[in-house]
């Protein structure tokens, strides 16, 4: 394992300290318990939005704290959900009296720890609601699994719910728009290589030199099938097919297309993926009116990518375009 780290135990703390030093204009960092908040939190009268989960998916979530997006992010250890304590503390820190939304990716650990935190925060009189994100179509049936996982679509929920909260929507409305985004976004990913969790020091799974994993989760959980390496276009087709069928997306839809890098994939490859995805959508009569390409929901240094498609309407497009000022996503200010 070769990493630019000191003691694996300090990875999350030291990164938070670096994040604080680099983005003092946007965030403040609490070190014990550890969480990242908007520099101006709590914003009185605004719904607070907290997300979090295991570290190793950066910029998710800390890179999305700031004006127009998250009020706080709670990073757990690498690939391990945070405990309730920092979630409660973050919830308190962003409570401006209008209630707090928890955006939770659908993993047992995240769901349970956020649940406990919500109970504790509610007991202190904070109105807490949770939206659980489960955009990953690779995982099929929640009768047979822990349910669909929350993956890169989370970024879109965070941006759009964040914009709704920023313009003054109340908690019900922010919850509703977050749920709406979650209900209209579908994602599937592919891994070319595994990643190495610092404390483990070994790859979390093994892929042969000519193998890829279709439907990978963002912690290296497997998905649909392990196949031989194929050209990018064929891989894109494998990812987009299930995405389009699932919602389903239809001729005439306007969509946001997100091509997300898993961390170790060069940008040039992400654009090759984007090219083919846009082409396929066009063939289906689906218009890409908004796009996002880059590393947004990563799995450490994993090579691979995911494709997310969000069915837009005027409300979602307006909220997507609204100003945002975070370390990792910024426009309009």
């Amino acid at each position: 394992m070769k990493k630019l780290i000191n003691d694996p135990k300090n990875v999350v703390n030291e990164a938070a300290a670096g994040f604080e030093a680099a983005h003092a204009d946007i965030v403040r960092v609490s070190h014990d318990p550890i969480f990242i908040v908007r520099h101006d939190a709590p914003v009185q009268g605004k719904v607070g939005i907290v997300s979090g989960g295991g570290s190793g998916h950066e910029p998710l979530h800390s890179g999305f704290v700031g004006y127009g997006m998250l009020d706080a992010a709670v990073p757990g250890p690498v690939f391990t959900s945070p405990t309730p304590d920092p979630i409660v503390a973050a919830t308190q820190a962003v409570n401006g009296g209008a209630g707090v939304l928890h955006i939770v990716k659908n993993y047992t650990g995240d769901v349970l720890n956020f649940e406990t935190a919500a109970d504790l925060a509610s007991a202190e009189g904070i109105d807490v609601r949770a939206v659980v994100i489960n955009d990953d179509v690779a995982v099929k049936d929640s009768l047979y699994t822990a349910g669909r996982r929350g993956v890169a679509g989370t970024v879109l929920v965070e941006k759009i719910a964040g914009a709704a909260a920023e313009r003054g929507d109340d908690l019900d409305a922010v919850v509703a728009v977050a749920e709406k985004v979650n209900s209209r976004v579908r994602t599937m990913g592919v891994a070319l290589t595994p990643c190495v969790v610092p404390h483990a020091g070994e790859p979390s799974f093994v892929l042969a030199d000519d193998e890829i994993e279709i439907g990978i989760g963002i912690h290296g959980e497997p998905g649909r099938e392990r196949i031989k390496l194929e050209p990018a276009d064929a891989i894109v087709d494998r990812l987009l097919g299930p995405i389009l069928e699932d919602l389903p997306f239809d001729n005439g839809d306007e969509v946001l297309l997100l091509v997300n890098g898993m961390g170790g994939t060069p940008q040039i490859e992400l654009y090759i993926v984007f090219r083919r995805a846009a082409e396929v959508l066009k063939e289906h009569g689906i218009t890409v009116t908004r796009s996002l390409v880059g590393n947004f929901t990563t799995s450490l240094e994993m090579a691979g990518a995911s494709i997310s498609v969000l069915k837009l309407d005027d409300e979602l497009t307006t909220l997507w375009d609204a100003p945002v000022q975070t370390a990792a996503l910024r426009w309009g200010r």
Binding site: G54, G76, P77, V78, F79, T80, S81, P82, T83, P84, D85, Y107, T108, G109, L112, N113, E115, T116, A138, V139, L143, Y144, T145, A146, R149, V197, H199, A200, E202, S204, F205, G217, H219, G220, E221, P222, G223
Partner: protein
């Protein structure tokens, strides 16, 4: 190591009731065993999860240890279990943190303010712990989770109690059943937790949470049964 034996030496013996000293020995022994099994549990979790279960459990139990040392002498068993619960909840994270945390919390509730756990109470404690996990995690038997270790343990404990066993033998029966339950997760397809994403590929791998449960219950039995 302190000894609870009230009968003749040279034979394995169990105490009639489990007291605070046993509770402390259990958790300390559990911490030791989990530390020793950290890599093994990580490996099990790497095979069908995300490779951190050993890490998570070890972090939690190591955090408990200094708190045990700081306890007043007159602390009741239920209070020890509650301290374990809150510490696990606030340090383990992941799926295991809330699940084990709830288990210990419910166990503590079952003991309430009693100063000892007799055979009947022991069965109630184990049952409460298991039910707490089911309440939070909604797993059923055969879903390839820690429940597949807990439920056989609870059943074996109840059967041993019904057969008139004392706490030591009840714990032994529970530990044996949990160990077997962990082994029996190997052929299963998972329906809860991360392993559920693997489908058929989970077959042949032991569930890490079932294994940590087996280790913890073995520790409970080991510190109840002492040999001079």
């Amino acid at each position: 190591m302190s000894v609870e034996s009230h009968t003749s030496p040279d034979q394995p013996q169990s105490a009639a009731t489990l007291d605070t000293a046993w509770t402390l020995r259990w958790i300390r022994q559990g911490a030791e065993v989990l530390a020793a099994n950290r890599p093994a549990l990580n490996t099990l979790d790497r095979d069908i999860g995300d490779g951190d279960h050993g890490e998570n459990m070890d972090r939690g139990f190591q955090a408990v240890l200094p708190k045990l040392d700081a306890l007043a002498d007159e602390t009741l068993p239920g209070a020890v279990l509650k301290l374990v619960a809150t510490t696990l909840i606030s340090t383990v994270g992941g799926a295991a943190g809330p699940l084990y945390g709830t288990a210990f919390l419910k166990a503590a509730g079952a003991v309430a303010a009693a100063d000892g756990i007799d055979a009947a109470a022991l069965v109630a404690v184990l049952t409460a712990a298991r039910d707490g996990i089911v309440l939070r995690g909604k797993a059923e038997s055969g879903d390839k989770t820690m429940i597949d270790s807990w439920t056989p343990a609870v059943d074996a404990a109840a059967a041993a109690h019904a057969a008139g066993s004392g706490v030591g033998d009840i714990l032994l029966a529970a530990a044996d059943a949990a160990a077997q339950g962990a082994v029996d997760t190997e052929p299963l397809v998972a329906r809860k937790g991360r392993a559920s994403y693997l489908g058929e590929r989970a077959i042949g791998h032991r569930d890490p949470g079932a294994q940590s449960t087996a280790l913890l219950l073995r520790a409970a039995a080991d510190v109840a049964t002492v040999t001079e």
